[in-house]
Symmetry: C2
Amino acid sequence: MAHDPGRVPEDPRRRNLGALLRHVHLAGPTSRTALADRMGVNRSTVLALIADLRSAGLVHEDPPAGTRGAGRPSLVVRPARERIYVLAFDVAVDRLVAARVALGGAVLDRREAVRPRSGPDLDTVVAVLGDLGRALHRAAPADALCAGLGASYCGLIRPADGTVRYGPDLGWVDQSFGTALGRELALGLPVRVGNEAHLGALAEHLRGAGSGVRDLIYLHGDVGVGGGVIAGGELVRGDGGYGAELGHMVVNPYDGRLCLCGSHGCLEAEVGERALLDAAGRPPELTGREAVRAVVDAAAAGEPAARRAVERIGDWLGIGVANLINLFNPGMVVFGGMLRDVYRGSAEQVGRRIATNVLPVSRERVRLRTAGLGDDSTLVGAAELGFAALLETPLETRDAAAAARRVALAGK
Amino acid sequence: MAHDPGRVPEDPRRRNLGALLRHVHLAGPTSRTALADRMGVNRSTVLALIADLRSAGLVHEDPPAGTRGAGRPSLVVRPARERIYVLAFDVAVDRLVAARVALGGAVLDRREAVRPRSGPDLDTVVAVLGDLGRALHRAAPADALCAGLGASYCGLIRPADGTVRYGPDLGWVDQSFGTALGRELALGLPVRVGNEAHLGALAEHLRGAGSGVRDLIYLHGDVGVGGGVIAGGELVRGDGGYGAELGHMVVNPYDGRLCLCGSHGCLEAEVGERALLDAAGRPPELTGREAVRAVVDAAAAGEPAARRAVERIGDWLGIGVANLINLFNPGMVVFGGMLRDVYRGSAEQVGRRIATNVLPVSRERVRLRTAGLGDDSTLVGAAELGFAALLETPLETRDAAAAARRVALAGK
């Protein structure tokens, strides 16, 4: 039951080239036979596709390990990980990260800088990320090609141009982050920017705890709480790209805490970092992931104030998660950022709310997990965003990237 | 950015046949030229597709109205509405409805029965719907073909076999509704069953207030409150098919009213029919759409108790809708069932909550509307479910339906 009248995908060869490259990018080395099988095409079609991707330098073919001389084994196709990479950036609450990520998903090199909680404006953030990115680029082999740029940002992003429409913790409103970072890097490639929790959801769905789970919710907590939802294998973007702002679901309409958004009783106001630290009686100057972990550990060790805090936050988190399970009937809920620690300490409260507030039919198969990619979910998601164009139109994107590199080198 | 590694759609001709038939089913008569253009295929491809659908009796071709003799106008393709139909059924709170719906979407004939609020068990409901369906079938022209059966039910439905997993207002748990109705109708065709609010969302997205809106939320209220969400043009189904149970989002965790699900403070407990009638001081034996409308009208006329009730319910509805806008960033929210009346009376309260609780970026383009299809959203959605197989694989489904008819006739 598709709902768009009369829209038919274009050129099957282009679509198949993208599908094949995406397959080896995500699943790793795969035999010709298996590829033909998975893609539902015949052997001659798959051989032609592989030949095209090989001559573009995007894949290699080898005999499978340990079969040399054993008859005629189907060759194995693997992504050209030493030749093709993206640069991925992550503007997180306490750090700025850049990484060089190979086709196939391996993080080859990474650089980080501390990000102060308040203050850094657009120019500062872009300058720091530019330095990190250039260092990665210089360290790459001379014959390797940068095929795309992706960035994760902890705020609401306009997909078309990577503008930060609203970045509450930095106080950014309508800042042209994607454009500015692209100009700073001067690689002739656009920077695709995504909301950090959307990208975390994508990464956990493709490569993390929820690999293979087609309906998944990712909750990312730090100062605020963001969300990303995969429904039927696709990211829920919304009309403008601002979907899944789970953190601003009102859970406490009576005596809710003030939220950064100006409203009261939002999920993020009740379960974010400050809510936990305040409830545990920690001083206002104490912030950050270590402080959160210390409260959760103290609760486990029996400190009464910490235990009450974790139970209280866990109950609100449970209400939020129960609502989300009723709304999305997910196969999995994944906790990322500091919510990994909060969930670790409050799984009982969360489970109790799910048992009370979720319809039995809607919860019978749901699993709760912490992020499989740890603190790298958002960064890995940014890398996937950087690869997106290559995986849609491999040959055209590779050629455009090669042309951009020639122009950039000529300009130096 | 697709997320499934290496899945490629099958046979382009089959896909195109379905796309073409879907186009004229939804958009109505369309010229050959426009079809080729919309589908991105060349003229000879579109002619071959039309010829296949014509010889299967699924479409006709005519000169466009008023152009006879004016050179060589592109012929217009229209659905064979007098020849191909589905039967659609709706198990709603106060009525049982059956309709014969033509390819192209016109409701050709309909029958209704009153449904008592409590009591009817599976056998009773199936017997009544069977009578209604047989009457419609007998009244159809002898050369018309029933191509599918679809049903809407006010509860949680397992898509694979149309089992009602949970139907709170009838007290049904794990009742094999789809199978039983198919057996009762004895047309040799399966009954596809969907949740009423899912189907309402689909209908409003395809043919109603949200036609062309790719991100849409439909809230359906009667005794309970159900929901259907269209995200990026696709229905949010969830892992088991039980997505969008908006009515069980907890909005009032402190002194929430008892919900039919056993929990407290669910959206449906705060804004459903009973909440409104109780708040207005109406006696418990008063139920139904007319009673709701009378309270909303009394509030508009200035009756203090009714006004307070509508304002109170409107505020809870506003919290629920604000949460949903933050979660889905929809282009439109559509109110159906008795919520059409409630929204009419409480648009101000709902608007105020949206202004207070939704992030500005997330609400800048959202529109709020009542159902364009009125009380027929769910029935129209059931008809679309009945057409789904025909629109996916037109020739195979048509042949299977014709074979089923021969068998059914031979058995009489």
